[in-house]
Assembly symmetry: C2
Homo-oligomer: 251 residues x 2
């Protein structure tokens, strides 16, 4: 059987820790940064509530500079909000009128570090369960190779980020033109298939859930595991994360 | 319910890449080094066939020195045997009369690198499907925390090593005194439970299997995925790997 102009398959891979990203070809790929609990979920909520731009900063000290420039500042370390800042890492604190039109500087334990680790990528996009379908539709339109980067916890593997990566792999590989023979993508998809009917229950034993339980934020966790609460597709544009949809409309 | 002298639980964790081992407390743990395809499988076969000791060496050049000292030398890079050496990485090449009483220097792409990465551990033991039950029985007798170290492929996650880690987690956590809230241990156990009825079929899409398929070694792969072909428990003792059972008998 001969085939004229066979469609070049796009690959989708999963990187289970920012520390392993050096082994992937980021320069020629879109990197989907994932920090389900809670940085990338909060970023999606902020754009859903009308934020104009978010700058990921690595240190609390650096975010103080942006506070003086009139930015709202969100800062979290080890799951807790830092005193004197406007928001922590709860997605609920990125809802409301104060977010509309705002510029936000955000630093978190794992999420913003992963965004910065991916800065050499061809493009960087923000993924969460909250924007899952919109993200996948956008990825399908790009015709580029994809790497899902799980932020993990201090460079260690975590389950919730891997499950979202598996959800993205499942959605994309259901279309013929995507292929994946990356073992971590295969594993992530299997784990998502096991978990998807009850993500919250599946994660009940996970290390991060137990860590967050001590902070009494079960409602936030449940919200972060709820797919498709928004259609925003936040992308890194220079130093800032902006909402791709608005960016495209303004062209 | 009060409990006198409650038994201190031992933890079992899984490290998915040698590059992430720095985040684990190796100094106070037994590290189980896993390279199913094929270094740790071959090591088990060598001891089953009467090898006296195996020295893991990092470079092909270093292994040449041991050849001059009268060692048998096994060397593999990228899945293939290196010319001029006695054995490659096939478990079948470690069977037969030439192995009885031998000293072997072994260098492979991933396995011996992982063994060397674990050298600071309290103890290092070699795991494969071939010695699964013997390994787990020995681990139960040690009363120490356990880290399963997956060699992976060039520091990237692979499925077959993770499945063996999951098998070890499943066997140990079935006993009350072992606990695991490490996300990678939870994931490894789930994946093993999905795969265990047909490991070979489950791995048919994995990256390493496809890589090895090109080398036409399907029979070796099938053998490496067959549990409990030997009762050896190879441990690192100084610079050498020796068979723990023989070591204990000679005390």
């Amino acid at each position: 059987m001969s085939e004229k102009n066979p469609v070049k398959k796009q690959t989708i891979e999963v990187c289970l820790s920012p520390q392993l990203l050096e082994h992937f070809n980021c320069e020629e790929s879109i990197v989907v940064v994932i920090d389900v609990l809670r940085a990338t979920s909060s970023i999606c909520v902020a754009f859903e509530n009308g934020a104009e731009r978010i700058i990921p900063v690595s240190s609390v000290t650096e975010s103080m500079t942006f506070k003086q420039l009139g930015f709202l500042v969100g800062a979290e370390r080890n799951g807790e909000m830092i005193e004197g800042f406007d928001m922590g890492n709860s997605p609920f604190s990125y809802m409301g009128d104060h977010i509309m039109g705002s510029s936000i500087a955000l630093t978190t334990t794992n999420g913003t570090m992963a965004i910065n680790a991916a800065k050499n990528a061809h493009r960087v996009v923000i993924g969460s369960f909250l924007n899952l379908d919109a993200l996948c539709e956008w990825l399908k339109e790009q015709h580029e190779n994809i790497i899902c980067l799980c932020s993990g916890w201090r460079n260690m593997f975590n389950l919730e980020d891997t499950l979202l990566a598996g959800a993205v792999v499942e959605r994309l590989t259901s279309e013929f033109r995507f292929s994946s023979n990356c073992d971590s993508a295969i594993a992530a998809r299997y784990l998502y298939q096991l978990a998807k009917s009850d993500l919250y229950g599946f994660l009940s034993n996970s290390s991060h859930r137990q860590r967050l339980e001590r902070l009494h934020i079960e409602k936030e966790v449940e919200y972060c595991l709820t797919p498709n609460q928004t259609n925003v597709v936040p992308v890194l544009h220079g130093d800032f994360i902006v909402n791709q949809i608005i960016l495209e409309e303004s062209k």
